[in-house]
């Protein structure tokens, strides 16, 4: 028998009703592998919230509290406080929300939790739009993307503002740990979770979770899309511990963003000019990240 690179135990059930090739479910699967059974999870309205299908089914093997869309972090804080009140200190508390539920409507609760430093793990699985309601723009939708509320039309009304940078925002909250991860790199993700899970305070993960339905690509390409996001540095892999940046995985050679964009229907309207702008922004962000990794080194204690 070969060697497994991530834990074998499955705490997510099959039979969930995610789309074919859904990246978000992989994020959940890996996370639970890293955390194990003594985990409680709270999920706001999003694709993952309805994975169980209908009453009385359940796609998870750990305690699960479905909560209102904008309350994930506050709910996780509430669970933690209840456990603390009861003296239970060996259970991980996770808030697991989509990018919309995290970066838009849930950002206030998350900001509050992080400011208080409540001892929870927050995972944002990022499919870059409101998918559960049918592909509307979110704050995390990248520049250039089509969605049903950035419908291109005759006015070229694709998303014009950059993707909201949640890791940076969380780092600004002075939390002990924030990191990116990708479903295309489960070992990296699992390792980061293992590293952070016992730190005190609020831990944040931004997990790149490709969505064939919303991004308009064929379901078998989910992992490939994740790999390209990494290789083009559209979505780099890094972690920030107490303000100190570390790139956890560098592409051997950076590929042009066009390689990533062209596989996805949501970008098919982009002209070369716009792709150039995107490339420029990706370059700048990547250089910024490297520079931060460099200069924050000396702030590591």
């Amino acid at each position: 028998m070969g060697k497994l690179t991530i834990p074998q135990e499955e705490l997510m059930n099959s039979g969930h009703i995610g789309c074919l090739g859904c990246g978000g479910t992989l994020a959940m699967r890996y996370l639970l592998k890293a955390l194990g059974k003594r985990t409680m999870i709270t999920i706001p309205a999003c694709c993952i919230a309805i994975m169980s299908g209908i009453y009385p089914r359940n796609f998870l093997k750990v305690p699960l509290l479905d909560v209102a869309f904008e309350t994930t972090a506050a709910s996780a804080s509430g669970i933690r406080a209840a456990l603390d009140a009861k003296g239970i200190d060996d259970v991980y508390v996770v808030g697991f929300g989509g990018d919309g539920g995290t970066a838009d409507i849930g950002i206030q609760a998350l900001s509050g939790t992080a400011e208080r430093g409540d001892n929870i793990i927050y995972v944002m699985y990022d499919n870059e739009a409101y998918m559960n309601t049918g592909i509307q723009r979110s704050g995390a939708t990248p520049f250039g993307a089509w969605t049903t509320t950035t419908p291109v039309g005759t006015t070229g009304d694709f998303k014009k503002r950059p993707k909201k940078n949640m890791v940076e925002i969380m780092v600004a909250h002075d939390i002990p740990y924030a990191a990116t991860a990708s479903v295309a790199y489960p070992e990296d993700f699992v390792k980061k979770v293992m590293k952070a899970k016992d730190m005190d305070g609020t831990k944040f993960f931004h997990v790149f979770s490709p969505c064939p339905t919303g991004w308009r690509y064929s379901p078998e390409m989910t992992i490939q899309i994740g790999v390209l996001a990494f290789q083009t540095t559209v979505f780099p892999m890094y972690e920030v511990e107490n303000g100190v940046y570390r790139v956890t995985k560098k592409p051997a050679k950076r590929k042009p963003v066009a390689d990533y964009l062209k596989l996805q229907g949501r970008f098919k309207h982009l002209d070369d000019e716009t792709i150039k702008i995107i490339q420029k922004n990706v370059d700048r962000n990547w250089e910024m990240l490297l520079a931060k990794a460099e200069f924050t080194k000396k702030f590591a204690e």
Binding site: S52, I54, R57, P63, L65, G78, A82, S111
Partner: protein
């Protein structure tokens, strides 16, 4: 500290403390602020063992209480007006989840225009959320009701959250004598919270599933049923309280000088306290008037109200709120309940004290006079409205 002098807000905080609330999540707002501050003090001094989550909004306060309660902890919060309104979605959530959270609400008028003074639009506008609603008339009642509310809410036939109301300033900031029962006695009265189901790693279940049309209605019916069943439990808990602590607050509807009354007013909160003075004055003049104090508005005490209708032939319903497009909620619901009653007294609505306008005994005497004489002129009167012409709407 048996008998002491304190504000209604301190009484709220001591109620939560004596009930041994385990998780408090709250956000400040005038005139609730001193509840939060008192709780912060009690926790910081070690007098109260609770986790206090200093949330960034009321929406998160209620979300955190819901999650804590679902994890098996006794949860408490307090708010007022805009804070309550901001929780609206979460109030429906708490009730739908059948979580026995108890919350203090300091009734304050809603903006705009900005006001910090007493009226009930805030809590009336939550009448459809599935929470029990208790309106208090004294600081003593506030303290006692917080504890009673947990006992009612956590009863397995009920499992419905409860709000304990105080009038802004008239109770919240008014210093008056309060008997603070010993912790031991309260512990005897109120056992630890023991929900039928909770989040538990050794017994993992999921809460708040997706339920299509084939079962949703049945689950909602169960809430309706639980709310109906709460009537009996509210009554019993108040009786048990009286046995143990020597005072009752009247169950759902408290009656004052209703014996042989010809006319009665229905009112709630501090104005019903003041109304006693008015009623005494009228009685002194030989006028047979009485008071039915709506201590509980949810569940709506229609049985008790129908009983009143049997006894008097004129009723004035006093509302410290107004539902634009119909009438005061106490009134429309009273009239609704009376429709099915065999007796048909004269009933009229008096909208009064909106936005903190003071309600002296003489105003209530004025109303009682009108009620006695069945003075007409429309269904609804805005009593005390400053006007040069007619006073009525509706």
């Amino acid at each position: 500290m048996p008998m002491d002098v304190m504000t209604g807000n301190s009484a709220q905080a001591y109620g939560a403390k004596l009930a041994r609330a385990e998780v408090v999540a709250a956000y400040p707002i005038t005139p609730q602020t001193t509840v939060v501050e008192k709780l912060a003090d009690l926790v910081a001094s070690g007098e109260m063992k609770a986790q206090f989550i200093k949330v960034e909004s009321e929406h998160s306060a209620m979300a955190a209480c819901i999650a804590a309660s679902a994890t098996g902890a006794r949860a408490y919060t307090a708010t007022a007006a805009h804070g309550l309104a901001l929780m609206h979605e979460m109030l429906i959530w708490a009730a739908g989840s059948r979580l026995p959270i108890v919350m203090g609400n300091i009734n304050r008028a809603m903006a705009p225009p900005w006001s910090v003074w007493a009226d009930y639009q805030d809590s009336i506008a939550e009448r459809d959320t599935g929470w029990m609603q208790f309106y208090c008339q004294s600081s003593q009642e506030v303290l006692d009701t917080v504890i009673q509310a947990y006992k009612v809410a956590e009863n397995h036939d009920v499992l419905i959250p409860a709000m304990v109301m105080e009038d802004a300033f008239y109770l919240s900031h008014t210093f008056e004598p309060v008997d603070v029962p010993p912790q031991k006695d309260v512990d005897d009265f109120l056992p630890p919270y023991d929900p039928p189901v909770k989040l538990d790693v050794d017994n993992p279940v999921g809460l708040c599933a997706l339920v299509p049309p084939d079962h949703y209605m049945e689950f909602r019916f169960k809430i309706a049923k639980a709310m109906e069943d709460s009537r009996k439990v509210i009554q019993e808990v108040d009786e048990e309280w009286e046995k143990k602590f020597g005072r009752s607050h009247g169950g759902l509807v408290e009656r004052y000088r209703m014996e042989d009354a010809d006319a009665a007013i229905i009112a709630a909160g501090t104005m019903s306290s003041t109304a006693r003075v008015a009623i005494d004055n009228m009685r002194d003049k030989g006028k047979k008037v009485g008071l039915a104090r709506l201590r509980v508005f949810r569940p709506f005490p229609y049985e008790e109200i129908r009983q009143i209708a049997k006894e008097v032939d004129s009723i004035g319903v006093l509302d410290r709120s107004y539902t634009f497009g119909h009438g005061g909620a106490f009134y429309t619901e009273t009239a609704g309940a009376l429709y099915q009653a065999p007796e048909r007294p004269h009933v009229k609505n008096y909208v009064i004290g909106i936005g903190g306008r003071d309600i002296p005994p003489k105003d209530i005497e004025g109303i009682l006079e009108k009620v006695l004489t069945k003075e007409d002129g429309g269904e609804v009167e805005w009593f005390g409205l400053r006007t040069s012409g007619s006073r009525e709407v509706n």
